[in-house]
């Protein structure tokens, strides 16, 4: 089941059309962005199963194509919580509250990778001028902000520096676009690229990492601040942070190649905040 099939199934169940009327009052709704491997139905099922078991109530995993859609759903209360990116978290810092930050390779941090085709001779961003570049999402830190802010540091903007910028709305799609030669380069989540290198090496073998950003805060799970203290949200935060303590949770985390989820601090995202500021400042 791919993302569209999954969404179709969810849509046909009426969960998306009538969230308030068609579901039980205790069903928890978790929004997912393409920050992680959202195309893997097994991962989604296992995560839903683990969360539902731990919550003692059903947990709906709701996916959308763009970060913007999920963020909007989070803000308008269509979902109770969402796994979003640090960039939109900071964009709505005042209205959102952290429930947890995934831990990857022992730290709640990740990098943004700048990738090119395996046979491309580029050594860095400056070599990619005039090419076609793939971003993941305009609200993605690793898939847009890092490269855009690096270009801002160079006094450039993506629309001027690149011949054309393409948004693929998925980190895996960025890797596909670069590997297939549709674009020359791409900005991708380092965690996704490394995980793909393990599960789909044929895809990443067609790409080469030419630049890795500094370590930045891993995409967090957030809830609307005004609901953060509701029993359901608080229970969900507890479930998230204890996910690695249950076999189903451990299995789901293993499928996601994550160590666990910790009670993160907003300061983890200072690096992203800095890039946001630079981007605004230099434009």
């Amino acid at each position: 089941m791919d993302r569209r099939q999954f969404l179709g199934a969810v849509g046909s169940s009426g969960l998306l059309c009538a969230p308030a009327l068609g579901r039980a009052a205790t069903t928890f709704r978790l929004g997912l962005t393409p920050v992680f491997l959202d195309n893997d139905a097994i991962v989604i099922d296992q995560l839903r199963s683990a969360l539902s078991d731990a919550m003692g109530n059903p947990v709906d995993l709701i996916q959308r194509r763009t970060y913007q859609e999920i963020t909007a759903m989070l803000l308008d209360g269509s979902v109770d919580s969402a796994w979003i990116c640090g960039f939109p978290f900071l964009q709505h810092r005042n209205t959102l509250s952290l429930l947890g930050v995934p831990v990857w390779h022992g730290r709640p941090l990740y990098q943004s990778y700048l990738i090119v085709g395996v046979n491309d001779g580029a050594d860095g961003l400056s070599d990619l001028r005039g090419g076609i570049h793939a971003f993941s999402d305009p609200d993605s830190n690793s898939g847009f902000l890092v490269t855009a802010s690096d270009l801002a540091r160079m006094g450039e903007a993506p629309e001027r520096f690149f011949a054309r910028a393409v948004f693929t709305y998925g980190h895996r799609n960025v890797v596909r676009a670069v590997a297939d030669g549709l674009v020359r380069s791409g900005s991708v989540d380092g965690y996704v690229w490394e995980t793909l290198a393990l599960v789909e090496p044929s895809l990443t073998e067609g790409t080469r990492v030419v630049y890795k950003s500094e370590w930045l805060g891993f995409p967090p799970i957030a809830a609307r601040a005004d609901r953060a203290n509701s029993p359901l949200v608080r229970q969900f935060g507890q479930v998230l942070r204890n996910l690695n303590t249950t076999p189903p949770g451990r299995e789901a985390l293993d499928l996601l190649f994550l160590d666990g989820i910790v009670d993160g601090d907003a300061s983890l995202f200072d690096g992203i905040a800095l890039r946001m500021a630079e981007l605004v400042e230099r434009r």
Binding site: I132, R164, V166, F167, T168, G181
Partner: protein, 475 residues
């Protein structure tokens, strides 16, 4: 054996060749029909496939092309190709309304933002695409529309190598099949016709081998299964009998003609013998009366001697003519002297002048048998004498040239009637009622490989017989 002599080829070969030609013609027409139908079916399937492919992609891609969403166009193309079966779609490229590439299934071949024109150069609409031109890959172009507005175009390369191979295989199968069928039918035709024509060949074989006379076909060789052919062979047998009877009749006629010729001469010859007889009898009376007068007896004896010698010459000539043997001795000049001796009384009887000219070389004469040449000359002379009026003239001349002996007979008669001329000059059947003398001349001249010419000028009829001579002459 060349084409021009096709008419002279054996009928079995001609029938086999005709069957082969017809089969090849039929094979070409039938193969053309089969390949044409196959091509139409293939093209119909191909066009349907191309149309469905283009329409399906147009629906899916329209909004993305409208928004120039490179990734979604690519993703749709990529998924469409990976989901397609049969690997017919080799490559698809989508361009915007300005003709710039938005995405292609092979981005390295058709990079984004390059010109789509090179890929659409020889592309055709889905409804007209065909695999008939032998190309292994064909291109289809279709517009992409959203709400009636053309927002871009789609070019797809289709692999039609399987269809081309199928057509080639069908062509080869037809070629081999037709060749085999033609070969089998040609052989069958040859054997069937040969079998059917066996009685005809039998007939031809008995018709006159090596120029010989037709001979009857044994009854046991008649085909039992074909009553028509059996009747034909039976008729042939009857005909050979009739021909033999006719030849025998002609032989008898020719023989009779010789006697007729002699018969016609006999009265004249009787005069030749009778006239001197009176003188001879007078001489014997004179001897008897003047037995004591030696001088009278001597003169009478001399008279007797001359008369008897003349009679002896005449009788010898008659004997010679009557003893004619066709395979006999060679012709000599004396034969013509005999002929003159026999013929001259006939002209004397009719008070005709006889011109006689002998210029022939003895060596030329010796090349010919005596009997037929004498018969030719005698018949022509008798005919000329009959034709010439009382007191008219008949002339005979013999001349030898380097390659022929020429016998010329002329008279001042009214010329040959048409019937007589036909007898002399052609092999047309004899008209009942006429003699066979002139026809005999013709037959004898033909046997000697000679030729006859006839002319009638200034009241003079001249018939010239030319008998060819081969080898070196000693004169």
């Amino acid at each position: 054996m060349n084409i021009r002599s096709f008419g002279s080829w054996p009928i079995t070969i001609r029938v086999a060749m005709a069957i082969a030609a017809l089969m090849i013609l039929f094979g070409i027409v039938a193969s053309q029909q089969v390949l044409s139908t196959l091509g139409r079916l293939q093209d119909s399937r191909l066009q349907e496939f191309a149309r469905l492919h283009a329409e399906g992609l147009a629906v899916a891609l329209g909004p993305f092309v409208l928004h120039k969403d490179v990734w979604e166009v690519y993703d749709t193309l990529d998924r469409a190709q990976s989901n397609s079966t049969g690997q017919r779609i080799l490559f698809t490229v989508v361009g915007d309304e300005r003709g710039r590439v938005l995405a292609a299934t092979d981005p390295e071949r058709a990079p984004v933002d390059t010109d789509i024109a090179p890929y659409a150069n020889d592309a055709v609409a889905p409804d007209t695409v065909t695999a008939a031109h032998g190309a292994l890959v064909v291109r289809v172009v279709a517009p992409l529309s959203v709400q009636g507005r053309t927002v871009g175009q789609l070019v797809t390369e289709l692999d039609v190598s399987d269809l081309v191979a199928q057509r080639r295989t069908a062509s080869l199968a037809l070629l081999v099949g037709n060749a085999l069928a033609t070969l089998i039918l040609v052989m069958a035709g040859y054997f069937i016709v040969a079998r059917m024509l066996r009685p005809i060949e039998l007939l031809a074989g008995h018709m006159g081998e090596a120029g010989g006379a037709p001979r009857p076909i044994p009854e046991n060789a008649f085909p039992r299964s074909d009553s028509v052919l059996a009747r034909l062979l039976r008729n042939f047998n009857e005909m050979t009998g009739a021909i033999e009877a006719r030849a025998e009749a002609e032989r008898r006629l020719a023989e009779r003609e010789r006697f007729v010729s002699l018969g016609r001469l006999s009265s004249s010859l009787a005069h030749e013998i009778n006239n001197p007889l009176g003188g001879l009898l007078n001489a014997t009376d004179t001897i008897r009366t003047y037995a004591d007068r030696p001088d009278v007896v001597r003169r009478s004896a001399e008279l007797l001697d001359r008369g008897l010698q003349h009679m002896r010459d005449v009788s010898q000539a008659i004997l010679q003519e009557n003893r004619m043997d066709r395979s006999g001795r060679a012709l000599v000049r004396a034969d013509f002297d005999d002929l003159r001796l026999l013929f001259e009384p006939e002209t004397n009887r009719r008070r005709q002048r006889l011109g006689w000219e002998m210029l022939g070389c003895e060596d030329v004469l010796n090349r010919f048998p005596s009997a037929p040449v004498r018969q030719i000359a005698l018949n022509l002379l008798l005919n000329a004498s009959s034709a010439a009026p009382e007191g008219g003239s008949v002339s005979f001349s013999l001349a030898s040239e380097s390659d022929a002996l020429k016998i010329s007979v002329a008279d001042d008669g009214p010329g040959l009637a048409k019937g007589d001329l036909d007898r002399l000059m052609s092999a047309a059947p004899l008209v009942p009622g006429g003699g066979v003398g002139l026809r005999l001349v013709r037959d004898l001249v033909s046997e000697l490989q000679g030729a006859i010419t006839h002319e009638f000028t200034a009241g003079l009829t001249r018939i010239v017989v030319s008998l060819p001579v081969s080898g070196t002459l000693r004169c």
